[in-house]
């Protein structure tokens, strides 16, 4: 049984910040105030802090708007790695594992959990470094499988449905003007030509009226 790890996150950093969504109209991005203490399912607290710091360099919080920190990207990644995806449920994993051509796709035996565990080892203490130094370290591993996964997962954690742990308060969707899963645009689809249509985002649970069980909770 693994020791219980928690990650304490500040959720207040974006309250009241003005961001410019893609219609170039300023709007207020809402996120809750205070701190969140989130139980971790896969990472240790130290690993989670390093992943959060790396994701924050990939998708920084800056003048163009909030980023991976506010969206809770690390929570998304933690849950994915703890669930079936982390254990390679969505991949054919029968041996032999042979080196292939790039066009034959990823062929290694290492699953996403293994890739993170190994990839994080040389990054120990990453979250305690200066931003410029962090960027230099990430530039050095840019072409690794680990970094490619981390970049993909950062984007996913920014823009997933909030039920998966990222995109907290739909902050990623607000940032790009994505309205989430809405039932119909029948009246708007041929009317908004050349001008932005930006309805308020809704989550899947809000649309269907009940909680939906996400894939990471499956066996």
């Amino acid at each position: 049984m693994r020791r219980r790890h928690f990650l304490t996150l500040s959720a207040s950093t974006v309250g009241g910040l003005l961001v410019y969504s893609l219609d170039r109209t300023p709007s207020r991005v809402h996120a809750q105030e205070g701190t969140l203490r989130v139980p971790l399912k896969f990472f240790t607290e130290e690993q989670a802090l390093d992943v959060a710091a790396a994701a924050a360099r990939i998708f920084p919080s800056d003048e163009s708007g909030p980023g991976a920190t506010e969206a809770g990207v690390v929570i998304y990644i933690d849950r994915q790695l703890a669930g079936p995806y982390g254990k390679d449920r969505y991949r054919y994993t029968q041996p032999p594992f042979e080196k292939g051509l790039p066009e034959q796709g990823y062929q290694d035996a290492a699953n996403p959990r293994d890739i993170y565990r190994e990839g994080l080892k040389p990054l120990a203490g990453f979250h305690r470094r200066e931003a410029a130094e962090q960027d230099k370290i990430l530039t050095g591993i840019e072409s690794t499988v680990f970094f490619t996964l981390l970049r993909t997962h950062t984007i996913e954690g920014m823009f997933c449905d909030p039920m998966h742990g990222g995109n907290r308060d739909m902050i990623g969707w607000q940032l790009i003007g994505f309205p989430g899963p809405r039932m119909s645009y029948l009246e708007e689809v041929d009317q908004y030509h050349g001008r932005a249509f930006r309805p308020k985002p809704v989550s899947l649970a809000e649309v269907v009226g009940h909680r939906v069980r996400p894939s990471e909770e499956e066996e």
């Binding site: 708007g65 969505y90 034959q104 996913e156 645009y185 029948l186 001008r195 899947l204």
Partner: protein
Amino acid sequence: MKRLAPVDAVIVGGGWNGLLMASELTRRTGLSVVVLERGEARKTQDYAAGMDELDYGIRLRMMQAIRDETVTLRHQTRERALPIRQYGSFLPGSGVGGAGEHWSGISYRYQPRDFRLLSHLCEKYGARSLPPDHALADWPVTYDELEPYYDRTEKMMGVSGKAGNLRGKRIEGGNIFEGPRSAEYPTPPMKSPYLAALFGEAARKLGYHPYPLPAATTSVDYTNPDGVSRAGCSFCGYCERFGCMIGAKSQPTNTLMPLLRGKKKFELRAGAWVRRIIAKDGQAQGVNYVDSKGEEVFQPATMVFLASWTLNNTRLLLLSQIGEPYDPASGKGVVGRGLTHQVSTAAATAFFDKPLNRFMGAGSAGTAIGDFDGDAFDHAEANFLGGGTLYTVCYGFRPMANFGVVPASVRSRWGREWKKSALEFYDRTGRISFYGEHLAYRQNYMDLDPTYKDHLGDPLLRLTLDWQDNERRMASFMSGKAVEIARAMGAQEITRFPGLGRYDTTRYQSTHLQGGAIMGANETESVVNWYLQHWRVPNLFVLGASAFPQNPSGNPTLTAVALTYRTADAVIDRYLKHPGTLV
């Protein structure tokens, strides 16, 4: 092994072709019909809770479990094939409805020339113009023979569109390059999202002939000739890779299952994994499968219909040792011959200064031009044979898969500069896509892999597949045309398709694979005759695009389903009276 009571017809695969055959047999004869589907049961009501990009768009809930079974791929026979370990270039569906649940619904008819491609190219350019390693063949069925079945299929699905050739009369606004149609589309074209409208205006300005994509995502409320009613599309943007929550996208579950549900002589068994077709002395006896509880079962049947998608149809014939496997060295044998995919590219990615609202859309809401399809254009400036369709489709742009595309002028792929540009262009990026015909070659084929196995221990299917110069030149030529159109659409920056290179399993192209059990004029060159009846096992029918001798650019579903209607007529009107070969 448990032996079940015999049935009249067993159908392997519960997708478009399998369930259509089931519904024709059930409604028009008194036969007992069992459909074996290895995935799960589904219904429209399941789909609203499925509007989740991660679970459906990325983790691919509607696809075959790749953990259990995949295919291996190599480019040439002298290379070692390796398994495609995670989905990339195509997405085979599973579950009731098959890939017909998660499809886009773009529903093309093929051109009359496509049905006699070999003769056509020889007449027009001379036999010497063909690539020396081609394996092209005429189809043993003509456009005119198939036309009534195309019409029936469009009416069954409620395809939206505008005719461009009505009984030989060219009609502006439709695809004027299409073959003659006996009737207008059953429902009017879909509404045009902004990007599709921009494409249409630009194409017209350049002298092309834009038309609305034919869409099985019906545009208005529609009741088909079978009495099945469906709602019009609401452009929710959760379309391809998803099941339609309101049933607007024609899917086997909403178009065929209503005709079958509750019928006494029909049974659908989900979770049934067919491993072998059992044939003896030129007669199929039934099929062996593993049921949802893991038990081995033999289902005897008087007729067997194999309708389990191109790759699995071929694999089951090979595993069952029915017919001679194709050997590329000698050119002998038939099973596995003529594997084709589709030249499917993002011909141009265009960055605009106006928001496009790309989250609104449907898998087949778009605009296309046929000016570069087949021989609609002068090939004097083209150093390749054939052609295809340039189009833009507003399928519903979802952010997890699509965020991060930036113009070439932005060098970084992460960090502050990338983020700023990716945010700016997220909803200002449009794509002009291309799909083109993929010729059949002697060296592109399928057989059983000597190393890798599925979860039950059966060999995986091995694809030997690569692009040749004809496809590479075509992709590059069409990319040039797409860039011109993007410029006319007012794009600020444009990224060209980088080129086809070698066949790449990691880039999604389309789930349009053809061949392996092709139809032809005789049994030395084909697996099935023009009623998709096995040449040597006349009570075995192999349905679907596995029968296409080559890919004729457009998406195959409409044609595959039209052929199934034709087979159903032949079986019901003739075969049942005199079982035996139909030709």
